[in-house]
């Protein structure tokens, strides 16, 4: 797979723009998944996918063939998502919407699940988790998502975010502590 990706990259750099389509098709789902987990919003996640592949194309000459294209585009996507979270207006708006309508996020996810049996309690827990996640800083949230949901090691997180491994670890620790505090009232109900 990696060798194929590398030959496709060479073809793109030789002027075959359409060859890039193969890379987009192969890695879009993974990129979307991580983007959605970080920004928690489908529309934003889709924009991040577009942005990541566009940036990837523009910087393709800088792509080091030592790593796989998948890893490389993943990093770009995580950084695009982190940038999106870090934009001043975005998160404030996000949190504001969340506070006005605590179930907004859970409804979106619940619709995806199409689970008619989902209980009110479950929705409340899910909404509370979403809110707790939104209260993390962009860096904490990204580090936590990569560790907790994407199962990335601390070293990988550090590499993706361009920070020291210890800083990545501290970001994850802080995120977990905050989430524990936020979710403490729900532990009896879960």
């Amino acid at each position: 797979m990696q060798e194929t990706d590398h030959s496709v990259v060479r073809a793109v750099l030789a002027g075959d723009k359409d060859a890039y389509g193969a890379l987009v098709r192969a890695h879009s789902t993974t990129v979307f998944r991580v983007a959605f987990r970080i920004v928690g919003n489908e529309a934003d996640a889709e924009e991040i996918v577009q942005e990541a592949f566009l940036r990837g194309y523009q910087r393709l000459e800088a792509f080091q063939q030592r790593s796989g294209f998948g890893t490389w585009i993943y990093r770009i996507a995580v950084n695009c998502a982190l940038n999106r979270l870090s934009q001043p207006g975005v998160e404030a708006e996000y949190r504001h919407g969340e506070e006005n309508d605590p179930e907004q996020k859970s409804v979106q996810v619940a619709a995806q699940e199409a689970d008619p049996e989902r209980s009110l309690l479950s929705r409340e827990i899910s909404a509370a988790q979403e809110m707790a996640m939104q209260r993390l800083t962009p860096a904490e949230k990204t580090a936590f998502v990569l560790r907790h949901l994407e199962d990335r090691s601390m070293n990988e997180i550090a590499e993706v975010l361009g920070i020291a491994p210890n800083a990545a670890k501290q970001a994850v620790f802080r995120a977990v502590q905050k989430l524990r505090r936020e979710l403490a009232p729900l532990r009896g109900n879960a």
Binding site: R25, S28, L54
Partner: protein, 253 residues
């Protein structure tokens, strides 16, 4: 008993803790309860549903992305382009090598003929020049030593100053002869340096009451003019550079 820290519990949760931490968690009821509490908080987040995309998602992304991409310029790719260059360079290299061999051969032939004719005549002259080189080198060497001594002299030490003065007087006399000869022989570099040296030597030699201030001034002038450096350059000239009459050590002194 020291209980596990929150950070250790988190490391344990993610399977990154040491064996000791894990053993403690099993043995300690309090830490075990805290760990269970951590699991209760974090496990549900792991199982939170995520938005999914269908199999055609990649195609859709590509369709919307495609019009925004500008193709990279087509290059005459890889080894073909390099191959063409290589052939051109090799041809040029061969041509240059041929030309160099031809010219070199002609030059070598002329050189060897000329050398044979001149070797006999030069032998006697070279013997004389070797003596000149030794004499002049000795003079420059002594002058350099004097100037170095001057550079490091203690201006208040009268004994040292008297020695410097005596050496300078001896060198001044011979320096005049060498300078005049170099000038007549048309070697401006050697003549110029000897002239500068003569100024410094005269300053030291002809001042009956050489004071500390005088020494300092001479030393500053010497440093400013870089005389020591020039002497070293002259000293560094190889004997074979003295072949012509215009050269420093080849001047017929």
């Amino acid at each position: 008993m020291k209980h596990l820290s929150d950070d250790e519990l988190i490391e344990l949760y993610y399977g990154e803790a040491s064996g000791g931490v894990s053993a403690h968690e099993h043995a300690c009821r309090e830490c075990s309860a805290r760990f269970a509490e951590l699991q209760q908080s974090l496990d549900p987040i792991r199982s939170a549903p995520t938005a999914r995309r269908g199999a055609d998602y990649g195609e859709r992304v590509w369709e919307s992305l495609r019009p925004r991409l500008i193709p990279y310029e087509k290059k005459t790719t890889g080894w073909r382009a390099w191959g063409q260059w290589r052939i051109g360079l090799a041809a040029l290299g061969c041509a240059l090598l041929l030309a160099a061999t031809f010219i070199g051969g002609r030059y070598w032939e002329r050189m060897t003929t000329t050398t044979k004719n001149t070797v006999a005549g030069n032998t006697a002259r070279q013997a004389t020049q070797r003596v000149v080189v030794v004499v002049l080198a000795d003079h420059l060497d002594r002058t350099e030593r004097l100037l170095v001594a001057l550079e490091h002299a203690n201006p208040s030490d009268r004994t040292d100053n008297a020695e410097l003065q005596s050496d300078a007087q001896q060198l001044l006399a011979s320096n005049r002869i060498y300078r005049a000869t170099a000038s007549n022989a048309g070697d401006p570099l050697l003549a110029g340096t000897l002239d500068q040296m003569e100024g410094v030597l005269a300053e030291i030699a002809n001042n009956p009451n050489l004071t500390a201030a005088d020494l300092r001034r001479v030393r500053n002038e010497m440093n400013a003019e870089g005389i020591l450096f020039e002497i070293r350059v002259l000293m560094a000239r190889k004997p074979d550079q003295t072949g012509g009459t215009n050269h420093a050590k080849g001047a017929s002194i």
